[in-house]
């Protein structure tokens, strides 16, 4: 379809069921398939995605793009799809208009030709993480399941900050792409060359390092002495955010004692962490008393600190005092530390939803846009205007001026594609160029060494 034809169709010159009379009407009654086709033809940033997934094809002839696996969710699910060029990809997207696109690993050969080879195996893959708010259901009090709100979204903000911190500061990775997964979670793609080449064992080790397991009792398994990296995360990120979240989520049931059953269970269970029965009773008493003005959290902290001071006087065993700090730590880690699905990060051949894919599961059909980790405090997908939707961008297209090009630049998505390019893609390409130069230099040096020998 040419641009002119598209515009005509959008403007609706024929009397069809979907006749549009004014330019400001929305397109919510266009069938999903049509909207997706329009999206893939004009809006989905194919060239930018190609620039990303082709890694250093722009420098070398390694055929990264053709060896990359894609998967389409149409009426049936098909994986091991591959394409030779961005145009090829786009044509297939339009033709098939999948409601979900997945990106897989790089294989040793073109996935479409896998039946022609004896060994078909993944060779490189970005290090990925998937965090989902449903995993926080045991501690969330405002929502559960697929439902999310501003209050519990803060948990995702914390997760982004913690993970970003550890991946960059500890592991030294620099090229992270954070993406909103369309409904209730986030994905992280670590695209450094070192990350892409990690073995499954290394990925598992790394994921286990970051992950803190939640035991059957519902509390996390914190090992002491705490790893300095985890400790730093606690001191610099978790402690602060907890002060806000404890109010928003009402972890201790101050506001409504008859709230959800798991909340009350939580409150009662907290006291189980305290072995000193006198202390436990004291806290319990203050919690249920009518005269207390302080929040339960503050009472707990107060009582524990007081107990710690007293124990110091009583005995010289410093270790025993640690118990009280540990209790606070267990509470904070259990409620707000990132809950990873480490299975996603371990495997090389795991498929993950593509950035700029559309989440068709909800009414709004949000687009999976990148998130800037430095500004993630301001990102709130529950805000109606925050995340571009399929309907919204198609609408934008329709409203674009006659002389404008029909692409994402005329839509709400522009800001996010620009972010993708400027904050992520350009630095990554610069890095790849640098690595390429170093390779050439070292090759030259080797040749010279041989020649001089």
């Amino acid at each position: 379809m040419s641009e002119e034809q598209t515009k005509k169709k959008l403007r609706g010159n024929e009397t069809t069921k979907n006749q549009i009379t004014t330019t400001n009407e929305t397109f919510s009654d266009l069938p999903l398939d049509t909207m997706l086709k329009l999206y893939y033809q004009h809006i989905f940033p194919v060239k930018e995605m190609y620039d990303w997934l082709s890694i250093d094809d722009f420098l070398t002839k390694r055929n990264y793009f053709s060896r990359r696996e894609f998967a389409f969710d149409t009426l049936k699910f098909r994986r091991h799809l591959s394409y030779s060029s961005p145009k090829d990809l786009q044509n297939q997207l339009i033709q098939n208009h999948p409601f979900k696109i997945h990106v897989g690993p790089l294989y040793n050969t073109i996935p479409r030709d896998k039946h022609l080879v004896s060994v078909f195996t993944p060779v490189e893959r970005e290090l990925v993480f998937d965090i989902d708010l449903t995993d926080y259901d045991p501690v969330r009090t405002c929502c559960e399941g697929a439902k999310i709100c501003t209050k519990c979204w803060t948990l995702m903000t914390v997760a982004i900050k913690v993970l970003d911190f550890i991946l960059r500061r500890s592991f030294g990775f620099q090229h992270l792409l954070w993406v909103y997964s369309g409904r209730r979670g986030v994905h992280c793609w670590v695209c450094d060359t070192r990350a892409r080449r990690l073995s499954e064992k290394s990925r598992a080790a790394l994921a286990s390092f970051i992950n803190i397991e939640v035991t059957k009792s519902g509390w996390v398994d914190l090992r002491h002495p705490m790893n300095p990296v985890i400790k730093k995360v606690y001191n610099e990120i978790l402690v602060d955010y907890f002060e806000d979240l404890v109010v928003d989520q009402d972890f201790f049931g101050d506001q409504d004692q008859n709230k959800r059953s798991f909340l009350n269970k939580f409150s009662n269970n907290v006291l189980v962490l305290i072995r000193n029965s006198e202390l436990r009773d004291r806290i319990q008493q203050r919690w249920t008393s009518q005269n207390e003005e302080k929040s339960r959290w503050h009472i707990l902290k107060e009582e524990l600190e007081y107990e710690q001071q007293n124990s110091k006087k009583k005995s010289n065993f410093y270790n025993r005092n640690d118990n009280y700090t540990k209790i606070l730590q267990v509470i904070i880690f259990t409620t707000i530390y990132p809950r990873l699905d480490i299975g996603v990060s371990k495997k090389l051949n795991h498929l993950l939803k593509s950035p700029f894919s559309v989440h068709t599961g909800t009414e709004n059909k949000k687009i999976c846009i990148p998130i800037n980790p430095k500004e993630c405090d301001d990102f709130d997908p529950t805000e109606p205007k925050c995340v571009p939707t399929l309907i919204g961008v198609v609408n934008d297209l329709n409203n674009s001026k006659k002389n404008q090009n029909l692409n994402y630049n005329s839509t709400n998505l522009k800001k996010y594609v620009d972010m993708f390019v400027n904050d992520f893609l350009k630095p990554l390409r610069l890095q790849l160029e640098k690595e390429h130069k170093e390779r050439i230099l070292s090759r030259k040096k080797n040749i010279m060494d041989i020649e001089n020998f």
Partner: protein, 432 residues
């Protein structure tokens, strides 16, 4: 003269500790090869024994045997290095054949490494790490802020840290036991000794091609059918003797009994043909030949690796036999465990009439569940006046029925030699 080709890798060794990355490459005599292999095997067995008894591998007994056969000191002699390298690789070859032997070897070699590492001083350890080109720098924590962060997590007194890419130590990373910064895992070397060995051992899993070399449990000599009768009475361990007798009486043995005894016979050198004749002879006293051929013949050939996936099964070790489950109507397993106290006492008294103390000792050991040591004592009971020290270690007891058998054969050979020499000297004196 049989020669095997290999030569030693590096010339200027310091201590003898090694990760055995490359096999040696020199000429060596077969007999020396056997000697080295056996001595290392003794060390490994001592280690296994210590572990079975719940002792740490760094116990005195183990260290004694290590110092005797595979000593470790700052300046190792060329011979010590040669012996260590060769014995390791020849055993590795020998034990590569079955999953069980591989596991046994890896587990005990790990412990051996741990012991010897424990015997080195801090400087010697550093020099070892340098030598194997562990390749990664040692550094001090100068940054005050960093020191504060690491407080409580590591012992900052000994502040020579090791820095490796985190991919090199996945197990420690997974357990959060290392500090990670800038993509490197930073830690004190003591912490990782177990895990580093694991990495080595993963590499060790490369198997060599099947070798004709028998492990020391296999007898190199053959055994004739007709000798089985008196051999079983004289040199078989009590568990096999019982199986032999039961087979003769019942003309049948159930599955585990057939496996335990059949593989043992293979180990002492009974050929497949003779084995088939032997079992057929007994079984057909109660069934017809056809049934035997179809039901049992196949399994015997399978045991010798001639059927199915052709695995050359090794005879069961004591630990395996002890753990076999059995019912009253069966005769396999370890007699010191399965036979009732009264029956055991009766049997022992018949056999060891002249050594009542040892009999009591055996009975007590059985009651206290030290079955293998009881068996070792039983060996001494049956082989009196053993003069060359204890062929079976008191520490471990008997660990394999075939080694019980081999030791018995050696013993009787020695007796023969001694009486021959006696006769010669007697003749000489007579002539005079």
């Amino acid at each position: 003269m049989n020669k095997v080709e290999f030569t030693p890798k590096s010339n200027s060794q310091e201590n003898v500790l090694s990760f055995y990355k490359e096999p040696p490459n020199q000429d060596i005599e077969m007999s020396l090869l056997g000697k080295y292999a056996n001595e290392r095997l003794q060390v490994l067995r001592e280690i296994e024994g210590a572990k079975l008894q719940g002792l740490k591998p760094t116990s005195k007994e183990v260290m004694k045997v290590i110092t005797k056969h595979l000593p470790i000191r700052s300046q190792a002699t060329k011979k010590e290095v040669e012996k260590d390298q060769i014995s390791h690789f020849i055993l590795r070859l020998a034990f590569s054949q079955t999953e069980e032997s591989r596991r046994w070897f890896l587990s005990n070699e790990t412990s051996l490494f741990k012991c010897r590492w424990g015997m080195l001083s801090s400087n010697e350890r550093q020099s070892f790490l340098k030598r194997i080109n562990f390749g990664h720098k040692f550094f001090k924590i100068k940054n005050e802020k960093l020191r504060e962060e690491l407080e409580g997590f590591v012992d900052l007194e000994n502040n020579r840290f090791c820095k490796v890419p985190f991919e090199d130590v996945p197990d420690m990373v997974a357990m959060k036991r290392v500090f990670i910064s800038e993509g490197f895992a930073k830690f004190l070397p003591q912490i990782w000794q177990d895990k580093r060995m694991k990495k080595l051992l993963d590499g060790l899993k490369d198997s060599y091609s099947q070798s004709e070399l028998a492990s020391s449990y296999f007898s190199t000599s053959k055994v004739n059918l007709k000798d089985l009768v008196w051999l079983s009475a004289r040199s078989f361990p009590p568990c096999m003797e019982r199986l032999h007798t039961s087979l003769k009486q019942q003309h049948h043995l159930r599955h585990w009994g057939r496996m335990q005894y059949g593989l043992f016979l293979k180990g002492i050198g009974l050929s497949l043909e003779d084995s088939l004749i032997f079992w057929k002879n007994e079984f057909t006293k109660k069934m017809n030949t056809k049934t035997f051929d179809t039901e049992y013949g196949y399994n015997i050939r399978h045991n010798y690796g001639k059927e199915g996936k052709c695995t050359n099964y090794t005879p069961y070790s004591c630990s395996k036999i002890i753990n076999l489950s059995s019912s009253p109507s069966e005769f396999h397993g370890c007699i010191f465990r399965t036979v009732k106290h009264e029956s055991l006492a009766l049997k022992l008294e018949t056999v060891g009439q002249d050594q009542p103390e040892r009999v009591q000792k055996i009975l007590q050991l059985s009651q206290n569940k030290h079955f293998q040591i009881a068996c070792q004592q039983y060996w001494l009971l049956r082989h009196p006046k053993e003069t060359t020290g204890e062929p079976i270690s008191t520490l471990t007891g008997t660990i394999h029925p075939n080694s019980y058998y081999n030791n018995s054969i050696e013993y009787y050979k020695r007796i023969q030699e001694q009486s021959k020499n006696k006769k010669i000297t007697q003749n000489q004196t007579n002539q005079k």
